[in-house]
């Protein structure tokens, strides 16, 4: 494991899957990832939502979003299982650590810029304060 990556894995289950099936599915995925050396940081169970378009003739789907830390190997394995599983009607994996790092960069850059601007404004104010009494004299 060269570097730690963070992924977001979205799985959409069919609306007809039983509630306890969903929880065992959830547990299985988490256990699988843990076994392969990753960690599940967070599981967001969004419940049954309406789909914007039909998938496999379903109008609704049960959304589960896993946030996974790991090398990517375990995500590949999870995806392979999703493909085999008939209850999973759609899945998607996104790498989120890069965009988070980028957002972090934007934030620091903005803070720096603000600080610099504040400094120059202060400098200008100081200059004005110096020059004004001289002009009055």
């Amino acid at each position: 494991m060269a570097e730690k990556r963070t992924y977001e894995v979205v799985a959409i289950l069919g609306p007809t899957t039983a509630e306890d099936w969903v929880s065992t599915f959830n547990k299985n995925v988490t256990e699988l990832i843990e076994k392969l050396g990753g960690t599940v940081v967070n599981v967001n169970d969004m419940g049954v939502r309406k789909l914007a378009y039909k998938i496999d003739k379903f109008n609704e789907g049960h959304y589960l979003i896993f946030e996974v830390d790991g090398s990517g190997q375990e995500v590949a394995e999870v995806e392979r299982r999703f493909r085999v599983n008939d209850n999973v009607i759609r899945y998607m994996t996104i790498r989120v650590d890069l965009q988070r790092r980028r957002a972090e960069k934007f934030k620091t850059r903005r803070a720096n810029r603000l600080a610099r601007r504040g400094q120059s404004a202060a400098a200008r104010r100081a200059e004005r304060a110096e020059s004004q009494p001289a002009a009055e004299e």
Binding site: G61, R90, M92, R110
Partner: protein, 102 residues
């Protein structure tokens, strides 16, 4: 070649729409309407990350038809427009928002 006198019945391009004046060199019509530069609302709101799950926010950049609002209308900067486009495409693929709306 002698210039023809302008007669009352002649239609000059300038007369059709005063905003359009033909370019001297090429004869092409150019728009002289003053342009107001739109500023990026996402920069103003200091948004660093556009999440594909934030459907409400994405919806504000999706017109009736379900397409991605172009930059020339929204006024977004390149960085934010790119972020927005990827977020919309991701949201589409997990059926949060439609590919085509009718």
């Amino acid at each position: 070649m002698a210039e023809r006198e302008r007669e009352s019945g002649d239609i000059y391009r300038q007369d059709i729409n005063s905003d359009y004046i033909p370019n001297d060199r090429t004869g092409k019509m150019i728009n002289r309407r003053p342009l107001r530069r739109k500023s990026c609302g996402l920069c103003r709101d200091k948004i660093d990350l556009i999440d594909y799950k934030d459907i409400h926010m994405l919806r504000s950049f999706i017109p009736e038809r379900g397409k991605i609002m172009p930059r020339r209308i929204s006024g977004n900067c390149a960085i934010h427009q790119r972020m927005l486009a990827t977020a919309i495409k991701r949201a589409r693929s997990v059926a949060f928002i439609p590919f085509v709306a009718d």
